[in-house]
């Protein structure tokens, strides 16, 4: 049963991902991206990562995707029609990522860890929180600082150009 739901979400995710990268209109891409993100959140739920799923919806769906929409509205440009890659034969663009996927797949499938027995019915939030704030306290703090830096940096980069006035 769970697997069926997983498959459903997975197919939705893949489909909308394909749409994301193939739409010529950026706004359409964004919408499909939102779909993908939500589907992946669904996948998370089927994998009993409820907290992660929640974060995915809140942060990705509510934050990042909305941000994309804003940006597209602000710059407000249509997709350039000609999709043209310079110089590099297209074959490489297919070949290398595919090769990479193949390799990753080989590694991952060949090195599958044995499943650890455990209670069905989801991981406890408590365990996650405890681990996050004890073993991973330092990375957590660093991540916080990173976010702060990004905040300042982004504001700075975007603002300084503005202050130069319209050019």
């Amino acid at each position: 049963m769970t697997f069926a739901i997983f498959l459903l979400f997975a197919l939705m995710a893949v489909f909308s991902a394909v749409m994301v990268i193939t739409r010529t209109n950026a706004m359409h891409s964004v919408l499909y991206l939102a779909f993908t993100v939500l589907s992946v959140a669904g996948v998370f739920f089927t994998l009993q990562a409820e907290y992660l799923g929640a974060v995915q919806i809140l942060v990705y769906g509510g934050g990042i995707v909305v941000l994309y929409i804003f940006v597209i509205i602000i710059v407000n440009l249509d997709e350039v029609v000609a999709e043209r890659r310079k110089l590099v034969p297209k074959i490489f663009i297919f070949a290398w990522p595919s090769l990479l996927a193949l390799q990753v797949g080989t590694v991952v499938f060949l090195n599958r860890p044995a499943a650890r027995p455990g209670p069905e019915g989801g991981l406890e939030f408590r365990a996650l929180a405890e681990m996050l704030f004890t073993s991973y306290a330092l990375p957590f703090e660093i991540a916080a600082v990173l976010l702060l830096a990004v905040l300042i940096g982004a504001v700075f980069v975007a603002r300084r150009r503005l202050s130069r006035g319209p050019d």
Binding site: K86, L87, V88, I93, L100, Q103, V104, V107
Partner: protein, 665 residues
């Protein structure tokens, strides 16, 4: 006591060089310059007296450890601690040398006060001159080969600086460089010689080398190798075949310099060095023969060139080369004391000749071409008289200093040297007399050939120049009596005095033979003078012109100095320069080409496409290879500057890494 001798010129050089150029008046400069050498001369004299009175034959003053000991393996499988002390050694040989250097040096310093009076760089000149005196004294006092080498190179440096003293003259600057470089070629041998001695003996201390060589601590082969290598150094410094070409060019320097460095002292350093290591050289008969033959050969060879030169200083320069050849002939015959004796008398009369020539040049406002002189006898009488004394001395006229020393050399060559060398020596003696009197006749006799302006300005030199000339003339005339041979009732005192440092000369001749040889050498000298008289005075140079026409090619050959300079410049120097250009091209084309090719991918990243294109194309055109071009053309396309292409590169890198991971795990 004797360790003070070199100190004064050093202080003088420092004072004049560092302060004098800016702050000293002319008077102060000359007081410091001349005074320091005078003090040094006094110290030498005092040391000499002390040596005569004292019971010690050898005094050693160890100043401090220069290069502290380090282990080196030796030829016999052992190890030795190689250490060099900055130490001075004073014995009879050093005593003679210091007296000559400081004595003649002092006179030349005094002379320079007058000669250089109008030069702008007065202080610099005296600083160099003092520095030279210092270096020369270090050379003759050094207790080991390394300290000797300090002086050896030091005099070379000063020679370089003084030849190029008028550095804005291109010829002077080039001549200085040539002198230094030629000497360097010799030093190459010298250093290897030191290496051999260190390797087989484990020491480079002069006293130890002589002692060990005397004890037979080294094989004949090793001795020959060391001796010949050191002799290469000597040929450079003393301007012998094949490294003599720098000396005539060195005449670009001021005349006092030519007198001091290129006649009296520095160029005889090779002679001194061989005499200093007499025990080593004695061990190797081959080396001695080589030295004797090179010496005799040079003596004649240089004399032939002196016969045809017109530049008054160049004649003297070739004469110097020739005379040093005699000294080496003496050394090569095993008569070390005789060689040193000639070194001393030569210092007197050649310094005299140079300074007198300088006086002539001074009188004619810088004219050096003898074809524009003539008839100067009455215009510069003092100069003429002293010049005549010097000429007679060098010609070997009996009674003057040159006679005694040259005769002693020829006698020893006859007794124990190769006979060919002796014969050449006699031939050279005649030529010597001829060319020096040719010079006198051309300069002081005959019609006045200078132009009107020069004739009017022509004047005798001031006393500050003529007094040293007179003193040198006195020494040239009578300096030989310190070595008056037994045959003439003397005690050969000079040779005896030197015995403690250069050993006793083995070869002895019967009194009759000796007398015969003496008569022969005197006769040859007089014949040479007469020949010159006939050619240049009685026939007014006519025979010379006829000879010149008759043997045009030969004359041209000799006049152009056997084209040796051209050979050296064209073949050797030119060859080296060509090699350098080749190497530079190799660097640029091949190595860089390879590097460029290999690094093409990464290089392109660096956005230097314009230059690089040129380089790639050039490289290809120049035959680095078409592969190179194709590879780079392919790779160039990768570097588009577009972000996604770089992203693709990243993916590609990931693929590679993953491939590694897949294969490894």
């Amino acid at each position: 006591m004797f360790a003070w001798i070199p100190l004064f010129p050093l202080l003088g050089a420092l004072a004049n060089g560092l302060l004098g150029i800016k702050f000293f008046s002319r008077k102060a400069v000359q007081a410091v310059g001349v005074g320091s050498v005078a003090l040094s001369f006094l110290a030498s004299a005092a040391s000499f007296v002390a040596l005569l009175r004292g019971s010690e034959d050898v005094l050693v003053a160890r100043l401090f450890s220069w290069i502290p000991p380090s282990l080196v393996p030796l030829a016999d499988g052992g190890t030795a601690a190689f250490a060099v002390d900055l130490a001075f050694r004073y014995d009879s040989l050093a005593a003679v040398m210091t007296l000559v250097v400081t004595g003649v040096g002092l006179l030349i310093h005094v002379y320079s006060v007058g000669y250089m009076a109008h030069d702008r760089s007065f202080a610099r000149f005296f600083a160099y001159l003092n520095l030279f005196t210092f270096a020369m004294l270090v050379l003759v006092l050094g207790a080991n080969l390394a300290v000797l080498f300090i002086g050896w190179e030091g005099v070379g440096l000063c020679s370089y600086l003084l030849i190029g003293f008028w550095f804005s003259k291109d010829a002077a600057a080039a001549a200085g460089k040539k002198a230094f470089l030629t000497n360097r070629v010799g030093d190459f041998g010298f250093i290897l010689g030191i290496g051999v001695l260190l390797f087989v003996l484990g020491t480079i201390d002069l006293g130890s080398i002589n002692r060990l060589a005397g004890e037979g601590a080294l094989t004949k082969g090793a001795a020959t190798a060391a001796a010949l290598l050191l002799f290469i150094g000597a040929t450079g410094k003393s301007a012998q075949i094949p490294l003599y070409t720098w000396l005539p060019d060195a005449m670009e320097g001021p005349t006092p310099v030519s007198a001091l460095i290129h006649a009296a002292t520095m160029v005889t350093a090779g002679v001194y060095m061989v005499a200093r290591l007499h025990a080593l050289f004695t061990l190797s008969g081959l080396a001695l023969d080589v030295i004797a033959l090179v010496g005799a050969g040079t003596a004649v060879y240089a004399a032939t060139m002196a016969l045809v030169q017109f530049d008054i200083k160049r004649v003297l320069a070739y004469s110097t080369i020739s005379q040093i050849g005699y000294m080496f002939l003496g050394l090569g015959s095993g008569a070390y004391a005789a060689g040193v004796f000639h070194l001393m008398t030569h210092a007197f009369f050649k310094a005299l000749l140079f300074l007198a020539a300088g006086s002539v040049i001074h009188a004619l406002s810088g004219e050096q071409d003898m074809r524009k002189m003539g008839g100067l006898r009455s215009r510069v009488p003092t100069t003429y008289r002293v010049f005549l004394v010097g000429a007679l001395a060098i010609s070997g006229v009996p009674g003057l200093s040159g006679f005694f020393s040259k005769d002693e050399i020829l006698a020893s060559a006859f007794a124990s040297g190769p006979t060919v060398a002796w014969a050449l020596g006699v031939l050279g003696a005649g030529m010597t007399a001829f060319y020096i009197f040719r010079l006198i006749f051309l300069t002081f006799f005959g019609p006045e050939r200078m132009d009107e302006a020069a004739r009017l300005r022509c004047h005798e030199s001031p006393p500050v120049m003529t007094v040293p000339l007179r003193i040198l003339a006195f020494l040239s005339a009578f300096g030989g009596f310190v070595g008056l041979p037994h045959l003439l009732g003397g005690g050969a005192w000079f040779g005896k005095f030197l015995e403690s440092s250069t050993g006793r000369h083995a070869g002895h001749l019967a009194a009759g033979t000796e007398a015969l040889l003496m008569a022969l050498s005197a006769g040859v000298g007089l014949a040479g003078i007469y020949g010159a008289y006939v050619v240049y005075v009685r026939k007014r140079g006519a025979p010379a012109f006829r000879l010149k026409e008759r043997f045009g090619a030969l004359h041209r050959l000799v006049f152009r100095k056997y084209f040796v300079d051209e050979f050296y410049d064209g073949i050797l120097v030119g060859g080296i320069l060509r090699l350098g250009r080749l190497a530079g091209g190799f660097d640029l084309k091949v190595i860089d080409g390879l590097v460029d090719g290999a690094a093409a991918l990464t290089r392109r990243l660096s956005k230097i496409s314009i230059f690089f294109d040129g380089r790639v194309v050039d490289g290809a055109v120049n035959g680095v290879g078409a592969v190179h071009r194709h590879a780079s053309r392919l790779l160039r396309r990768v570097q588009t500057g577009y972000v996604y292409n770089y992203a693709l590169a990243v993916v590609f890198g990931l693929v590679i890494i993953m491939a590694l991971v897949v294969t490894v795990f």
